[in-house]
Amino acid sequence: MNFIIDPISFIANWLMNLLLSLGLSPIVSNVIVKFIGAFLLGTFGFSLVIFTIWLERKLYARIQDRFGPNRVGPWGIFQTFPDMIKIFTKEYITPVGADKIVYNLAPIFSVSAVLLTWAVIPFAPTIVGTDLNVGVLYLMAVGSIGALGIILAGWSSNNKYSLLGAFRSVAQVVSYEVPMILALLIPVLLGQSMGVNSLVYAQDVWFIFLSPIAALIFFLSCLAETGRAPFDLLEAESELVAGYQTEYSGLKFGMFYVGEFLHAFTISALMATLFLGGWRGPWAEQVPILGVAWFFIKAFLVYFFVVLIRISMPRLRIDQMLNFNWKFLTPLALVLLIITAIVEKSFMVIAPSLNLMETAIPWVRAGLHLSVNLIIILITVQILKTHRVKEVQIVGKPRLVAVAPEPPASVIS
């Protein structure tokens, strides 16, 4: 294990020996090393954000056929630093009647939720935060904490609009959690384990090829989770000012901002690990660092795609978004889950009798799953077409004009 192949674990061992040599008990030293590792991971997360902010603004510009930030540093690389400084120096304004504790706690929650997911993502066969055997479950838990942060922010800022924004965003986040979890279950099912690292190991054939639909559902629901792209009603500029972030300013607002961007990159990282085989690549086993490289290439590829969607897609209405989730994604996810389970089970039963070559088995399995998924796609498309026709007719009907909508009593009395 030399430095080139696996620098991080090398450093980790070196540090461990250092501490032991200092005479600390193994447990304590182990704790310290783990602590340092966590610290490094956190800072790496934040530093990534700086880079991705610049990257995204550049991409926006290029897509919109303009240059984007190019004043500070070559190609505007250092543009994010003056932004950061600007935010840091902004004045802390806490609204009157705001619930102090909760008001300050909210941004911490939202950022911590995102950072916690990084603990589980494996960059390389040996480089991973903690290899929890319930890694996927951990991801779900952390996802829900994010929602909590939003509510508290919206509530504690003592402002009707922020509360309204909070409710809308929480509704969106919580409802999109369901299809995300269901989509997550499929790789777990295929990989026979809940540990993220073991999932990556199981991906001889990338899961995206086994069940493209699951990948699609996961990708879409994660987008909704982060509140970006077509689903960005959280702080839709044109409507509710900045949603739940209106009362925040200064560093607190920065925290939210960073949280959001980091979350965008995290979902692309997750997408990469779960469906694109994570650090799987030609020599990833032997050279862990190479695994890291593969991982980041895939992650940035998905991230590019996320940004692309964000730029090009128009914003969805809240009812369209919820209908899309509850009437399309969730049922599709459920059906998919059931069918893949059946296919998987039947394959395991039939496989021995087919006396295939040892190596061919995963490919046959992949082919089977792929074909099943294609069939499902065709059917859903067909259903959507018929539904589409009905939709047009309904919309076509003239609607009563100038009827004062009754104020919803349930929201705020």
């Binding site: 829900s144 504690s156 509360l163 809940m194 009754e406």
Partner: protein
């Protein structure tokens, strides 16, 4: 006093204080937050008890869903932002007395219970633990019935909640 015991005591203290503050805090939202703290404390306990799966489940279900529900409910059912007046009803001391009595009673019974001070046995194979649990939950001779009943209960709860709280206007 091993590290583990120190952690146990520390976390127990934190959870208990959070629990008491849940019960006594004046602001409903604050008590909800304290509740979240206690729940996470209990999640830590699960980790101490080598039940990692349960810790995560605790976080997902309680903190992720139930706490949020509480906060939602708190917000939906408040006339004015701040709660006013004493939060506990008149004969609170009777409640306190009963709680203490109960605590005393339970501890007494536990003390008399012979298995009270058993030490933690060594955990052998923890690897298959989770899958074993999963299998137990769906194998007919073990716990499939409660599992199915729980699912029925959840569906019923869902439908009930929607129906009861659903806005009848539209």
């Amino acid at each position: 006093m091993t590290v583990e015991q120190i952690i146990f005591l520390f976390v127990a203290a934190v959870t208990l204080i959070a629990g008491i503050s849940v019960v006594t805090s004046r602001n409903l939202i604050h008590s909800a937050l304290w509740l979240i703290l206690t729940l996470s404390g209990i999640a830590v306990f699960y980790v101490l008890l080598n039940a990692g799966f349960f810790a995560v489940i605790q976080v997902v279900i309680y903190i992720g869903a139930i706490a949020i529900l509480f906060i939602f409910a708190a917000m939906l059912t408040r006339r004015v932002m701040q709660d006013t007046g004493p939060q506990s009803n008149s004969n609170w001391w009777l409640g306190a007395v009963v709680a203490l009595l109960f605590f005393a009673g339970i501890t007494l019974i536990l003390i008399n219970w012979q298995g009270f001070a058993t030490q933690a046995p060594m955990l052998t194979n923890t690897s298959g633990q989770l899958s074993q649990l999963g299998l137990a939950l769906v194998s007919p001779d073990k716990y499939v019935l409660p599992f199915e009943l729980a699912s029925v209960l959840l569906v019923a709860g869902m439908i009930g909640a929607i129906f009861v709280a659903g806005d009848k206007k539209q």
